[in-house]
């Protein structure tokens, strides 16, 4: 219910929203949880395993119970915490893990079966038969247990990622964080202040204390106003710092759109990478519940949460509230409620010697031992000196003390330190390089001390970074001592809950210990304690205290489980933001792309490039028809193909030739100006890295061509050789792949085509095979190379890329007029297989120069990369699988790439393996399927028959082993 005169919500801005289809009204500034409590809705969810009715436990991001689905359909967001989700006009939220409704959930029968469903039940029960694991047990268990669901459709929402840099990242904007940010900012540091709440201020918004003589929220506003006015400060609200990583990198999730109606282009969340020279963790503390029988009923929540609902949202979670705790802080809840006019039924303090200054029935040395009310708390039982008494109440505010939020300090393998006086773990200093800790997360429990520590730590950081902070004038604030006595568990019959979301009880933890799962990590996995979406924020310390007790050890010896990022759940969509669809990888498009698409050529990806597969024509019904036609262009007339994607590296400098001689197996220093040479490049381990042609354009100027696939790898390799192996060489490299649009003009009519286009006339004398030089194309200076990847008389013509589109259209039009046309990757592949030319299908990383029959290309006269290791006996063993051609020899004519080769009489099993097929093509020129492959002692076996077996596709056939050059073995056509 709303409490008049309390809270920071805007009572002039009513907001209508729906929960499980029912419309409610709240105010701007409400969370879904506070607005529902204001409407007396207490039941907000069902637990994971037993489907127990649950209400809110907390008022923050640690909430385990009140998880809801926001929205419906494609954009539905499951497992949103009602305590974090702000309401907005039109918000639609649904409860989860219930059927048919939240109030009547059929699977709550699990709760009746609870005696059988304790820790380890699944492990012990669903063992046999094995065949049931995946088919029966898992689907059934998954259906019964669970949280919200995604729509199953592609996520239509936008997410984004972003970078931010600062001198100091302050994590948390409570009293310590605000004071730290203010001190550092005044000293001149670049500060980012990040806070996960929509409104900064931390507990100061939730408490009734004064700071500096004014209400806490007013002091917060005054500090924020000052910070906002400073250029060196960036305030990031709704931003949870989720992880601490190496070298001052932090992950942070900003909720950009969850508090607003959806807008098409606005991201829902931004995942920030914040790089900070220093950070101050001021993340506060989380209050822990007390485990007693049936401590999970809707209406039972932490005492601090009750104060948050009252003081920040102007809501009392109950009409008659009982307060139960083991520390003085809990008393504040009762005092604030009474001051606000809410009835307090009792204050129960577990300590017999507690000083309780509250005008309400007081029970000292007493505990709450039970509760009743199924969907709503109706009463609790107080046990005091052996007597039990029922108290009617609809809300229990409980406090077992506060756990400092140490999580981020443990993200780089740090372990927290136990502090006996506050019965809590605190951060171990230095756990994250560059991170300091201040305030409640450091175990500093009064407002005054938090303010002081924030200022002091920030001044120290400023000094470290060479800035001087003025002595802080600390605002006055409460400094009441925080006294408590440990209270983890109230003994009694029935189930006392620890992990509310995963339904782990005190009994489960004790059972784990009994069954010898004594390590805290084993206990966690056996019971699932701390494995829910809240990651045990509310329960881990209590659970390990109970484990410590059950195993006869102290809490520090028992230790904690490992804290890992993220601190709070992060959607995969946010972490992977920007990398879906077109953001997955850049698309590289050639200058002929538009013309290619106009011709309806299907595109294939070649690395990041998009290249035409083939250019279909009217009447063709399958790709083979198009491909065969295009092969015919090149063999009989002239074909045009965009080859711009091949890597081109400009190499200049006095030592250019020396570099080429060192990275290629063959010699380039002897190459004449205006000539091109084929080169083979090895890795240092003696295997082939890449091949291609290199042209000499000047005394100290070459241009190297790489395969499309290896362009990046070769550039990196050349950089390595010139920097790490021979830094004394004066040689300069730059990629010119993008500068030139380069087209193969291939076929017997290629010269005729070019002669009609170039300003010069080509002849065999001036332009023999492997010549290169400048030419003028319609007044544009280009480069011409007489090289061939088809075995035909062919050229590659390059012009500056801005003319690429135009030249491609021109070349294709002319080729078409001569009985030829454009050809794509399929035809290019057929043409090269017919000639036995290799690609990365053959030089796939495990083949040597010897394997591809090029061992004579390794010059004996000089050293080169890979030469020494290529000479190892194993790499030149005649038994190796070596390049051969294959053609069908049996009745079945099908050959498949990836098939393995066997001797005809042998069983097709691994030990009999003789080799494999790497490339297959139907050769329209020869009228049959042909293939390249590797076969043991291959070149010695021309004429033999081998058995080809493709187990994956069910193909078995006989093949004849032949020379890999199927077509024009003498090479007359390329020179003619």
């Amino acid at each position: 219910m709303r409490v008049q005169g309390r809270g920071l919500v805007d009572r002039n801005s009513p907001v209508t929203f729906r929960f499980d289809g029912i419309a409610y009204e709240g105010f701007a500034g409400d969370t879904l949880a506070s607005a529902l409590l204001a409407n007396d809705v207490r039941l907000m969810g069902r637990s994971f395993k037993y489907h127990r009715p649950r209400g809110v436990l907390t008022a923050g991001s640690e909430e385990p119970n009140a998880l809801v689905t926001v929205g419906a359909g494609v954009g539905q967001e499951p497992n949103m915490r009602a305590t974090v989700q702000e309401i907005y006009p039109g918000l639609e939220a649904q409860s989860q893990n219930r059927w048919p409704s939240l109030g009547f959930d059929l699977l709550s029968v699990n709760d009746l079966a609870a005696p059988f469903l304790g820790a380890g039940f699944y492990y012990k029960t669903f063992m046999w038969p094995r065949a049931f694991w995946e088919k029966l047990y898992e689907p059934v268990i998954r259906r019964a247990a669970g949280l919200g669901a995604l729509s199953g459709k592609p996520d239509g929402d936008r997410y984004e990622r972003a970078w931010a840099f600062c001198d100091l990242l302050v994590i948390g904007a409570g009293p310590a964080g605000l004071m730290a940010a203010l001190t550092a900012a005044r000293a001149g540091l670049d500060v980012i202040l990040a806070d996960e709440d929509a409104r900064m201020g931390g507990r100061l918004l939730a408490e009734s204390h004064e700071v500096d003589g004014m209400p806490g929220p007013d002091w917060v506003d005054s500090v924020l106003n000052e910070l906002q006015a400073m250029d060196n400060v960036r305030l990031m609200s709704r931003t949870t710092v989720t992880g601490a990583y190496d070298q001052g990198t932090y992950g942070a999730l900003e909720r950009v759109g969850h508090h607003l109606p959806r807008a098409e282009k606005r991201p829902l969340e931004t995942f920030w990478r914040i790089v900070a020279r220093r950070s101050i963790l001021a993340a506060g503390a989380l209050e822990r519940p007390v485990a007693f029988t049936n401590n999970d009923r809707p209406g039972i929540m932490t005492a601090g949460a009750v104060r948050t609902y009252l003081n920040r949202y102007g809501v009392s979670p109950g009409k008659a509230v009982t307060v139960f705790g083991n520390n003085d802080d809990a008393h504040r809840t009762a005092r604030d409620l009474i001051a606000a006019g809410v009835h307090v039924s009792a204050v129960i303090d577990a300590r017999a010697d507690a000083a309780v200054d509250v005008k309400a029935p007081i029970y000292k040395g007493a505990v709450v031992s039970g509760s009743s009310g199924r969907k709503q708390l109706e009463s609790i039982t107080v046990r005091s000196g052996g007597r039990e008494e029922k108290i009617a109440t609809d809300c229990l505010a409980m406090s077992g003390g506060w756990n400092p939020t140490v999580h981020l300090t443990c993200h780089m393998n740090g372990r927290p330190t136990w502090r006996e006086d506050i019965q809590s773990f605190v951060p171990t200093p230095g756990a994250i390089p560059g991170m300091e800790v201040a305030g409640a997360c450091n175990g500093t429990m009064t407002t005054a001390a938090c303010l002081r520590e924030g200022a002091e730590v920030a001044a120290r950081v400023a000094a470290d970074l060479g800035k001087k902070a003025k002595a802080a004038d600390l605002p006055k604030a409460e400094d009441d001592p925080y006294r408590l006595t440990a209270l983890w568990h109230v003994p009694g019959k029935g189930r006392a809950w620890l992990d509310f979301q995963n339904d782990v009880t005190v009994k489960d933890v004790k059972q784990a210990a009994t069954e010898n799962f004594r390590s805290v990590e084993h206990m966690k996995r056996y019971t699932t304690q701390g494995m829910a979406t809240d990651q045990g924020k509310n329960s881990n310390v209590a659970a390990l205290a109970i484990l410590a007790d059950a195993t006869g050890r102290g809490i520090p010896e028992t230790g904690t489980t490992t804290f890992r990022p993220p601190y709070a759940p992060v959607a995969i969509a946010a972490m992977g933001s920007g990398a879906t669809g077109k953001g997955f990888a850049p698309e590289r498009k050639t200058t002929s792309h538009a013309a290619t698409v106009e011709r309806k050529a299907p595109l294939i990806e070649a690395g990041l490039w998009y290249r035409p597969s083939y250019f279909p024509q009217a009447g063709e019904t399958n790709w083979r028809q198009s491909c065969d036609r295009e092969v015919g262009y090149v063999r009989n007339a002239v074909g045009i193909c965009d080859v711009s994607t091949l890597g081109k590296i400009d190499i200049q400098g006095p030592d250019a030739a020396r570099l080429l001689d060192f990275v290629y197996t063959n010699t380039f220093s002897t190459l004449k100006l205006g000539r091109v040479r084929y080169g083979l490049m090895l890795r240092e381990d003696g295997h082939v890295m890449d091949d291609g042609t290199t042209a000499r354009l000047g005394e100290h100027h070459y241009v190297m061509t790489t395969t499309t696939a290896a362009a990046g790898q070769v550039m990196k390799h050349l950089d390595f050789v010139t920097q790490a192996l021979h830094p004394e060489w004066d040689v300069h490299l730059i990629s010119v792949t993008e500068q030139w649009a380069q087209f193969a003009v291939a076929g017997p009519k290629s010269r005729e085509l070019l002669n009609g286009l170039l300003d010069t006339s080509l002849s065999d004398d001036d332009w023999p095979f492997m010549a290169c030089g400048e030419v003028s194309v319609a007044g544009v200076t280009g480069r011409l190379f007489r090289i061939s990847f088809s075995g035909e008389h062919a050229y590659e013509l390059a012009v500056p890329a801005r003319f690429g589109d135009s030249l491609f259209r021109l070349l294709v039009a002319r080729a078409e007029a001569m009985g030829g046309g454009a050809y794509g990757m399929e035809a290019l592949n057929v043409l090269r297989v017919e000639k036995g030319f290799i690609t990365h299908s053959e030089i796939h990383g495990r083949t040597t120069a010897y394997d591809i029959g090029m061992e004579r290309m390794i010059s004996a006269k000089k050293d080169c990369i890979g030469k020494t290791m290529a000479a190892r006996p194993g790499l030149v063993d005649p038994e190796r699988e070596r390049l051969v051609g294959l053609r069908p020899a049996g009745a079945a004519k099908q050959i498949t790439a990836g098939a393995h080769l066997f001797n005809p009489g042998d069983a097709p099993v691994r030990v009999n393996d003789q080799g494999y097929v790497t490339s297959v093509a139907f050769s329209p020129t020869l009228g049959m399927n042909i293939a390249l492959g590797f076969l043991k002692r291959g070149p010695e076996r021309y004429g033999e028959t081998v058995k080809l077996v493709d187990h994956a596709r069910g193909v078995e056939t006989l093949c004849e082993v032949v020379n890999p050059v199927f077509f024009d073995p003498e090479g007359g056509r390329v020179r003619g």
């Binding site: 990583y245 190496d246 070298q247 001052g248 990198t249 990478r273 790089v275 780089m412 390089p433 240092e684 381990d685 990046g712 990196k716 950089d719 390595f720 920097q723 790490a724 192996l725 830094p727 004394e728 050293d863 030469k867 020494t868 290791m869």
Partner: protein, 87 residues
């Protein structure tokens, strides 16, 4: 993880690609023999502690650098241009 490129300054590790130990800098003579070449191409230490390895500033200036770092603490201790180290 952040690495300092001696030319470009401190950058996120995504700009770099990793090659392995700085052994790669010490290419043996072609006649150094099998053992030396085996060491160079194949054998690497796997230190728990300080290590020196090669990174390529592929998303940056194209420099090969030698990074000294600690595999246990993740501390990045320093970086030098490979061209300077190799000289």
């Amino acid at each position: 993880m952040r690495i300092t490129c001696p030319i470009c300054g401190e950058r996120d590790s995504r700009e770099f690609s990793y090659r392995g130990a700085d052994v790669a800098l010490h290419r043996p003579d072609p006649e150094a023999g099998e053992a030396a070449w085996d060491d160079y191409v194949h054998l690497r230490d796997n230190p728990a502690g300080e290590t020196r390895d090669m990174w390529y500033h592929e998303g940056g200036c194209g420099a090969w650098i030698v990074v000294t770092r600690n595999t246990v603490t993740h501390e990045v201790i320093g970086s030098e241009l490979a061209a300077e180290v190799a000289r």
